[in-house]
Symmetry: D2
Subunit: 457 residues, 4 copies
């Protein structure tokens, strides 16, 4: 056995600079557990297909399990000359059990092996991320339920637009995340495919059994076409996109929380335990958590661009460029897990300034649309109603009055009946928005019940 496991045809030793540059062991060691899991299933299949003996199978599996233990306990020594996790394990196995180790890589290439490792890894991590996302959704639903009576100004263009229930507003994020959940599940369908058994890319002349492998490793599907199996990284790109969109959603929530926590908005108070201070300014208490999450959105976008760029224009089948698929994947996985892990802690430290929200809800003529719709109900065309209310607003602005300052007389002079006086409260406005999915307490409660049912199903 030469030092390199593939050195037979080589006349010269690989330059150490090249060895260092091409080695992936510094990061793919993270896949060690999956690599060994895959190898164990592989030798079980080889034995079952009588390509290796039962004795060999048992020896190899025993050795692999010991190595798994060594890695877990930190005893395993990784080095660049061993190139990657696959060869590191095989070499160690050889030192452990000798010759039979040479049978492990039968009917297998690193091309299908690494695709397997990545898919096993991602299958697990998508599961973890789904759990964390649901946990975050629960947190949002709790916040919505705890504050079901708070009315706040709803915004478009960051201007007061119409009063809404705070619960209605915050529930938007539940819906965003619910789409993330669905997208991740759709992505999972394409992750959950077995590539092992494709060999280098052309298949093998040995009588292997890929369906057995799939069953053994719990895959729902097989990456049928052997060239496709080793040259496909769609599943990684798709996951990176799902992650980018999820982080985009969190960046929007973060933006709102940061704004709400500013003294000018003052919509929320945040507990000291999730804030951090300034090294120079003694009074500062900063919402670093949502800021960092907003910033990390860039990271998720960058990782997506990284992988898309890498795959552009690659000829079939495997090219070494594809080694670059791992770090961006790991980074998005970690970013999602960290962000989804810390956010519930942060959200639970948030308290609404309910009085302020309630009192601001009606400011800025937020019931103007109600007045117009009231006219509509009385037969006026909406466009005329809009115009009339617009003029009323202009009158108020020029005279620095709110709707609540107006008397029946004022309303009448703009063509409104006296019943309008009752329409100007924000709380009343909210109650009247009974359309499906609208901000009325009934609709919001219905959506909350539905969300809870989905989450705790």
């Amino acid at each position: 056995m030469t030092q390199k496991l593939w050195g037979g045809a080589f006349k010269e030793k690989v330059s150490p600079v090249v060895e260092d540059f091409t080695a992936s062991i510094a990061f793919d060691r993270r896949l060690a557990g999956y690599d060994i899991e895959g190898s164990i299933a592989h030798v079980m299949m080889l034995a079952r297909c009588r390509i290796i003996s039962l004795r060999e199978k048992n020896l190899i599996i025993k050795g692999l399990k010991e190595i798994a233990g060594e890695i877990k306990s930190g005893k395993f020594r990784f080095k660049a000359a061993d190139e990657d996790i696959h060869l590191s394990v095989e070499k160690r196995l050889h030192r452990k059990i000798g010759e039979p180790a040479g049978k492990l890589h039968t009917a297998r290439s690193r091309n299908d092996q690494v695709a397997l490792d990545l898919r096993l890894f991602l299958r697990d991590e998508i599961g973890n991320i789904l759990k964390l996302t649901k946990n975050m959704q629960k947190c949002i639903v709790d916040l919505a339920e705890q504050n079901i009576k708070v009315v706040m100004p709803g915004f478009t263009h960051l201007q007061h637009a119409q009063p809404v229930l705070f619960s209605h507003h915050i529930l938007t994020y539940y819906y965003m995340l619910q789409r993330d959940v669905e997208r991740l599940k759709d992505c999972m369908k394409r992750v959950d495919c077995l590539p092992l058994g494709a060999g280098a890319f052309a298949g093998t002349t040995l009588p292997i059994d890929r369906m057995f492998l799939a069953k053994q490793l719990g895959f729902s599907n097989v990456c049928e076409h052997s060239i496709d199996a080793v040259s496909d990284r769609d599943f990684a790109a798709e996951f990176l996109f799902c992650g980018a969109l999820l982080m985009m959603h969190l960046s929007r929530l973060s933006e709102e929380l940061i704004m709400w926590a500013s003294p000018e908005f003052g919509f929320i108070e945040i507990g000291d335990s999730v804030l951090t201070g300034s090294s120079m300014m003694p009074q500062k208490k900063n919402p670093d958590v949502p800021e960092l999450i907003r910033g990390k959105c860039g990271r998720a976008y960058g990782n997506l661009v990284n992988t898309l760029t890498m795959m552009k224009g690659l000829p079939l089948s495997y090219n070494r460029d594809m080694q670059e698929d791992k770090e961006s994947l790991f980074d998005t996985v970690d970013t999602l897990k960290k962000a989804l892990g810390v956010y519930p802690v942060f959200l639970r430290a948030v308290r609404l300034n309910a009085d302020r929200l309630n009192s601001l809800a009606g400011e800025g003529f937020t019931v103007a649309t109600d007045l117009a719709e009231h006219l509509v109900a009385k037969g006026v065309s909406f466009r005329e109603a809009h115009e009339r209310v617009g003029k009323l607003v202009r009158f108020c602005m020029e005279n620095r009055k709110s709707f609540e300052d107006l008397g029946k007389e004022d309303f009448r002079s703009f063509g409104f009946g006296q019943e309008v006086v009752k329409l100007v409260s924000a709380a009343g406005s909210v109650k009247r928005k009974k359309s499906l999915g609208g901000t009325s307490p009934g609709e919001v409660r219905r959506m909350l019940r539905k969300a809870r049912k989905t989450l705790y199903a």
Copy 2:
């Protein structure tokens, strides 16, 4: 009626510079047909819910249909002062039928209206793109079937690796595109939701019927939560990602075709009718089509980054930034339709140089793995077999021989039996790769039958 349909509260006229800058009519006019379709459904609903009268409904629908005709025939005059497609149509309607036009926008905002238009547009275009993708897949399957006997060198790292059937190789692209089809269908689930009825974002006080709207417009689902309905552009981002990945796949095929058409590869001949010439070099015939498609991959990536960036950190609910969602969407739709439209024409003009492919298939010791697996079948460990074949290859290289130049004696001196001589043909190698999804004629034919069944289902 003031000139602006929303001018009631304004003291000053909008500056023309601002009017020009904010107008979207130059590009959203493309949505005209969908806008009118949505408006017709909307007034049907308003009448059904007795918010407007039957007479008003009929007048409005008649007017809208006339406007649709004017737009189709190119008679409609769009201008920046009319801001966008929504107000352009409403204003025209007002000039046509007078006062009842003012009832069209009842219980509706441009926020839910534009979300509707975009979804109607995308629903249609995803349908078109799916058809074009399938057409492209059929073309690939045809190419695979027509050349089922051609063996070629399969590549990893752009080095000869193992012989494969050309049909096997090209079928990889069928599988890539099949994932695109599945992803687009998953995306469609999230596009196929009705946002109309969300109003500006809070719902409405008027007794509308969103389920009727959904049924009328053929939507499978309703964007239930009204704030989410107007602030969500996930469906656009997801489509842009699907498009980016599809273009990435086409960029890979393009890279291969461009290389194969080079004199050095000489794998294919391309008919003059799909090539273009040089203004300076009289002999040139260039494969511009795959080059441009490879280049347009950048466009699809750029459009995705555009929309992801635009949505980053946006507070709820609607912000004008979101007007920027359209052009990148249109551009990716057009790019996909053009690329998928021209590619079959190009592919049908491609002819394989079968003799060259067959003769290259065995060059570069591409059956080396078979030799190793042969030893494995005889009980040698794969790692030792790999080493032995490696040394044999080195011997051949140093003596400038191919496997076919070797006699039984040579093989014997490296420990191979005389039966090995029969293993060195590329065609034979291909036949022996019978593992599931491997390159054997049996497996490839099976995959072809399956593909054909899927495509013509």
Copy 3:
């Protein structure tokens, strides 16, 4: 003359689908003026080098000038079958002046010609963008000068941090844009190079004079190496990056203006003439201009990614992928010109709520750092001073007091001398920040003078 100007070696006509797909005339017609300018210089050179006759030169130039006129006046008919602007012009010239037209393309390829057109275009447009950027900077300086006495709360983490002059704050954007100016000028050095004379990429056997061409077309440098001259698009990518960064700067300003215009901040009032309304909500007045500009940041990023992706992994020399360089370049140019064109109009409609800013400047214990630095000046270590002021702040928070509510007694109990009472005004704090570039009126006025000098140099 065949229909295609390069058809000699072709047996079949180009398929119309391919013709449509590969044609660039729909967008590169925008380069018509530059194309003709380049052609005129080219024939002057050809005549000077005695490659064509004086008579031919004059005929061609006369013809080209007429075509320029036809294009300007909209009479010129562009069609896809003419492929691109270069051949459209040459064909028209042939119909105009016959045979001598065939001499125009001597010693030239579309490869060097299009590189020339793009560089001429970009050279002009960078000039325009520099002017617009300076105009925007002047606007910022004016705003700073008009409000030199207004103190506002400076923010970190969107929390009140220290009082600053509004003029100081807004001047940050002058500095950002000044870096954009410098970067665009550096980029210009690499745009301002003549590629013409590179031919297809290998140069020419004809005795041309590239230095004359450079002089004639006003280029400071020549793209010396002929292969590099046609395969380089760095100048486009670099400009797209400069544009992306400039739009990022504008997105930051936009974010602030949008926030400041919210009722909660209420830092500014914006004139009706630069706001727009809502189709549904009669009271709405929205800051669409900064919102759209913030959104258009995505566009500039997307265009950069587009071109970087397109160039990735392209072999030398010219590849048709590179035709995709134009639309993203045009789009960023247009985006910058529109954004920089409208922003001064918008900014001039902005009025500060000076009273509100002045009164908020001291809220949130923004002078806390001053108190700590005061202790430092008296010999206390900064870390201890920070701690002591921190505790004072906590005392105030728990007792709902501001620093101004505290008496000498309170201060004394936390170890501050009685002189501290004089330190708690925001205006005073600003005056004391005399460090270089700090917020003191002296420093801000000095920076304003310097800015004005740079802008009006």
Copy 4:
């Protein structure tokens, strides 16, 4: 002293989850050396300005130097609770020298401190990258000089276009990298500015001397405006762009080398010492180095997108999002250094197959343009000449002949004189391309001399 250096105003301890999430020490420890260098300059300034005593200065500097030693030798223990490199060092200093440590952070914030660290780091690393780039350029120039006599087919659209000197072709990459050098130097102008002394963002009330700091730390300029100084990350984005473009250039070279090394091209042989093998296919020798570098282009693009996204829409002044600036910067620095470090090793193992290149140079009618230009020199219009040569090519193609197979008779029948026979050699064609920057040996040698002069200046 509380545990947190900023905890005075806080009632609760920071949650460990938040502490972990917000800590940057895991990656910013890389800046330790720069952080201490900056701190030493800072205390020298504080002493000089009599803000601290000489004794304090000396104590602090001695302590800092010891800490620098501890970090270098790996003895320093970093922990998440210490947040970042700045506070880790300050806390350690406090444990070392007690009270005077509390004076280190006088008139300084982490906001200006981290900007300083990043700029010091990047200033160094740009220097390193410039050296490595020049080294790579030298390698290219060597390769060009060693192979000055080799003629090869020049390509457009990956089709044979015109013969060129190999030296001419490869020198293109020298020119690309030369632009990278210039761009990095331009970028350096904007990196080489001192932000220290800006404080948190508003400056300080203490009598500091920023010019002294700049001089002490070797900065050519001062980031004058204090708010800009802490909120600007342009220098990082600009560097990331320079890195993206440099990697794009390397990806193009890599693409060519990978293609040239394929058996079909066979343009080059690569020494075993820079190739790697396959775990499954015994004969494989793969050019992993250029493949990985081509793949790493995605990484550089992704890092750029990351930072641009992160900065989009950030209000002034410092926001915690900006902590995300570091890892992408580190990663691009490392990627560039690794790629530029390994590439010369790889290139030196490349040998041209000169015979093959020379013989292919004339294949594919690559001298066709010369024939047309020959007609031009005799007075024929280029367009007619192009057409005539085109027809000659078509004749040859249909009769499967090369130009060299044609007799004078054949040429005459297409209207060429007998002298044309002498024009059909590739080597002759190259010699005649004497235009400035063209492929003639004279021009190429001139460019080589110039390059060498620039590199060894």
